[in-house]
């Protein structure tokens, strides 16, 4: 069949693709739950390629149709009903989620295989069902267009992510999971309060309708501002933005490598995505500019604080966890750069494509790089029986491929060319320069130095130490190393894609408050 004919077919299916993306993991989850045993793993593994195909189809349909996909569920149009919508940004998030899910799923097979003969084991059953649960939750967040529906999506996310933290079953991981639960529930309550206030003020929960009302001629309801502030605070706690990041490092300390990869690469990005939508899709430009400075200040603090603490960690896994806090900080620098009056006043920079591309590249390349690093660290820990940084000297000779994957993922994190992280940080830097906000430039540069320093602490002895390499206790599975390397390579190759290819990000963006003439 001709490609354009195929794409026309995709467009004709349109909105039902969104339903499929949301309901495939839900249906698989229920099937895996009911059948249990070794079926749970099989069903999850079969869902991986299907989910990836759907995400690719949505991205292709959005790109080809040059318009967001949209569907009113049950045929009831908002405000009475609930809509799903996928613009370019959502499509990219869905695709990133699918890619990381596939990689983590393939990686996790060795850790969570139900042993032959056993009817069912706790960790295996829980991991595979929760993997599907998390996927359903993330897709619900990225497709949601209704603030209460998004609250339900956040609840799905919370209850899928938290048991992953304590899959191991030891008491410290349980305490870490409880702490995560407290932060996540506090975040949910604040978000829900905000959603209720929006409804009380405008009588609708649909993001598009809210934007139209708020961007209209009526004066802004004071409740809307409070609502946006409450929701942002709640979502920041779920994103582990400094200073409400306290749950993230302990959560990673005892979580399985695959679970850590899912949490750091995807779970925290979902709440960030919603902060982005509130300030750029719902609230008016002027308020976004004020909020942007606060959010970016916290992001800058996260970059510096996370970097310094990563330097001081004794365990490889904790170093990567603190690095997540720092890298999440970069995402919040997008706010002042997109919403600055200088950027907005330049006609050719309307919608600030460079900043959007930079922010999205940072998000996607960090997702791939960080998942790869957590899995590489998992392989090292499984092979050596520990992950103490000071005892990793010479590991490059014992596990060359794992360390290579770790290193090139680190390249992207540091922002060295050629990598997705480099392009991301370069675009953010140049946007900071163009909009005259040089102080954010300093933060980005200092963050890069800190990242280089803490990765040097691991990589230099690992590659160049003269002492005999530590003897692996267990051999490392070659196929798992390939999965990690593949994901790390994606994060690097993103930097080689021509920027024009990222026009997908802009599709549907101009409905936002920023883009209104």
């Amino acid at each position: 069949m001709d490609l354009s004919v195929m794409l026309d077919h995709l467009l004709a299916v349109g909105g039902n693709l969104l339903v499929l993306a949301l309901m495939l993991p839900v249906a698989s989850l229920m099937l895996a739950f009911a059948l249990g045993g070794r079926h749970a793993e099989r069903i999850a593994l079969m869902t991986l390629p299907l989910g990836l195909a759907i995400a690719v189809a949505i991205a292709a349909a959005v790109l080809y149709g040059d318009a967001p996909l949209h569907t009113d569920l049950g045929g009831w149009a908002p405000p009475l009903g609930v809509a799903l919508r996928a613009d370019g940004l959502s499509a990219i998030m869905l695709l990133t989620t699918a890619v990381v899910m596939v990689a983590v799923g393939l990686f996790a097979r060795a850790d969570f295989q139900a042993p032959r003969g056993a009817t069912e084991t706790r960790a295996s059953f829980a991991f595979w069902t929760l993997l599907l649960a998390l996927w359903a939750a993330l897709n619900a967040v990225f497709l949601g267009e209704d603030l209460f529906n998004l609250y339900v999506a956040l609840e799905l996310l919370t209850f899928a992510a938290i048991p992953l933290v304590c899959l191991d079953g030891r008491a410290p991981t349980l305490a870490a999971a409880l702490r995560y639960l407290m932060f996540a529930l506090l975040g949910s309550v604040l978000y829900l309060l905000g959603a209720a206030l929006f409804y009380g003020a405008y009588g609708t929960l649909d993001i598009g309708q809210l934007a139209a009302r708020i961007g209209g001629d009526d004066p802004l309801e004071p409740a809307a501002l409070i609502a946006a502030a409450l929701m942002t605070a709640g979502l920041a706690a779920k994103t582990a933005l400094f200073p409400v990041h306290l749950w993230l490092p302990p959560a990673h300390a005892g979580a399985p490598a695959a679970a850590s990869a899912l949490l750091s690469a995807l779970a925290v990005k979902a709440s960030f995505f919603l902060i982005l939508r509130i300030w750029f899709d719902v609230m008016p430009e002027l308020l976004a500019q004020m909020a942007a400075q606060i959010l970016a200040a916290l992001g800058a603090a996260a970059i510096l604080f996370g970097g310094v603490l990563a330097l001081r960690q004794a365990r490889l896994k904790m170093l990567i966890a603190y690095s997540t806090i720092a890298q999440l900080g970069y995402l919040f620098l997008v706010f002042p750069l997109v919403a600055s009056p200088e950027t907005a006043s330049l006609a050719e920079l309307r919608n600030a494509p460079g900043v959007w591309t930079g922010g999205v590249l940072q998000l996607v390349s960090h997702a791939c790089a960080k998942a790869a690093m957590f899995m590489a660290a998992g392989l090292i820990a499984a092979s050596l029986g520990h992950d103490r940084i000071q005892d990793l000297g010479g590991i490059g000779r014992a596990l060359p491929m794992t360390l290579f994957a770790f290193g090139i993922a680190g390249l992207s994190l540091m922002g060295l060319p050629p990598s997705g992280g480099f392009m991301a940080k370069w675009l953010l830097l140049s946007a900071a320069l163009q909009s005259g906000q040089w102080w954010w430039m300093l933060v980005i540069l200092a963050g890069g130095l800190l990242t280089g320093a803490y990765l040097y602490r691991v990589l230099a002895p690992a590659l160049f130490a003269q002492n005999p390499p530590p003897a692996p206790v267990k051999p490392v599975d070659r196929s798992r190393e390939w999965v990690v390397l593949g994901l790390a390579l994606i994060s690097v190759l993103l930097g080689l894609v021509p920027l024009s290819a990222f026009s997908l990000i802009q599709i549907g963006r101009d409905v936002s408050g920023i883009g209104l003439p």
Binding site: N16, V19, M23, V26, A27, L29, M30, F33, A34, L35, G36, T71, D72, L73, G74, G75, W76, P79, L80, G81, V82, T119, E120, T121, R122, F125, A126, T129, L130, A133, A136, A140, F148, N149, V152, A153, E155, L156, F159, A160, I162, P163, C166, L167, G169, L174, L193, L197, G200, A201, Y202, G203, T204, E221, P222, A223, I226
Partner: protein
């Protein structure tokens, strides 16, 4: 002063008093009892606000099942942890109090600032309700207009079950939940557990059935059914099933699975996911609600029954 105003004032003052009592109580048990009473009074407030559906849910889930869960926790804590320890200093507590008061005051101010009359979708719901064949607008919103939320909420219960079960100790997987410790047989509880369930089960089914046209529905009905099941389990008349049982797993997902299946069929039969063909809307909704009631009752009961545990030596030798 009218009688209604006196009742409202009394309710408001009692709720504030119970709130203070719950915070200041010297023992966990006392605090939980205060909290349960508080929840029941809040349910009365919802009745006064003519939101009977919310009142039923608050009484059944907010106060009843949550209270039972908290009571269980309070009694299972080791004796040394029974008294809340004053770890926080006076200034910390003062700060927490000031912060809470600021948030409460701020929210009150914002609520007063909301437009009056409040924008509402109620007329729109009323106008579209006939297409669903239902008489209760709340059920119309939950199962038709915003069906996706209800579908996903019923899936959240499955997530929660996985989460609770994943806390099973090493050798507990596949066994029966062991959180509820049955009371000794022959106590007053046994009698209650024999007398109440026949009525309670009828009430639960009635709440689900009447939900189509009057306050009630799957969540409220399911909560009452779950309460009856838990009562029988606490009294030792029945034991929670082993979590590896295929039939149990099917009961837990039948509600959301059927909801999803009807939703998908809607794409062909009515043009949209989660749309109902007008001629069959009401029977389809009743079937979904029945399955949901069953799944919700099972899920809530099992959430209270806790993670599976290996049977103790005494249990192994009946």
């Amino acid at each position: 002063m009218s009688a209604a105003l006196i009742v409202d004032l009394g309710l408001a003052l009692s709720i504030l008093g119970l709130g203070v009592w719950t915070v200041a109580a010297r023992s966990h048990n006392g605090a939980v009892v205060g909290y349960i009473a508080y929840g029941l009074l809040v349910a009365l407030v919802w009745v006064r606000l003519a939101a009977v559906d919310v009142a039923l849910t608050e009484a059944a889930i907010g106060s009843g099942l949550t209270g039972l869960l908290l009571l269980g926790v309070a009694t299972r804590l080791p004796r040394s942890a029974r008294q809340p320890s004053p770890t926080a200093g006076r200034w910390t507590r003062l700060l927490a109090g000031v912060l809470s008061a600021t948030v409460a005051g701020g929210l009150a101010a914002v609520v007063l600032l909301l437009p009056d009359p409040a924008p509402t979708l109620a007329p729109s719901v009323a106008a579209n309700l006939p297409a669903t064949g239902l008489g209760n607008p709340v059920t119309g919103v939950l199962i038709a207009f915003r069906a996706i939320d209800t579908l996903l909420e019923s899936v959240v219960l499955v997530f929660a079950i996985i989460g609770v079960w994943s806390l099973a100790p090493k050798d507990g997987w596949g066994e029966r939940p062991g959180w509820l410790r049955p009371a000794p047989l022959g106590s007053a509880l046994t009698l209650l557990a024999q007398l109440l369930p026949p009525i309670g089960i009828l009430v639960g089914i009635h709440l689900f059935w009447t939900g189509a046209n009057a306050p009630g529905g799957a969540f409220q009905g399911g909560a009452v059914l779950a309460a009856m099941w838990v009562l029988a389990m606490i009294a030792g008349l029945t034991r929670p099933p082993a979590v590896s049982r295929r039939r149990l797993r099917l009961v837990l997902v039948i509600g959301p699975a059927l909801f999803l299946a009807v939703g998908v069929a809607g794409i062909w039969l009515a043009g949209d996911f989660l749309a109902y063909p007008v001629a069959y809307a009401k029977p389809l909704i009743l079937v979904i609600e029945a399955a949901l009631t069953l799944s919700i009752a099972a899920a809530l009961g099992l959430l209270l029954a806790g993670p599976p545990e290996a049977p103790s030596a005494a249990e192994r030798q009946p």
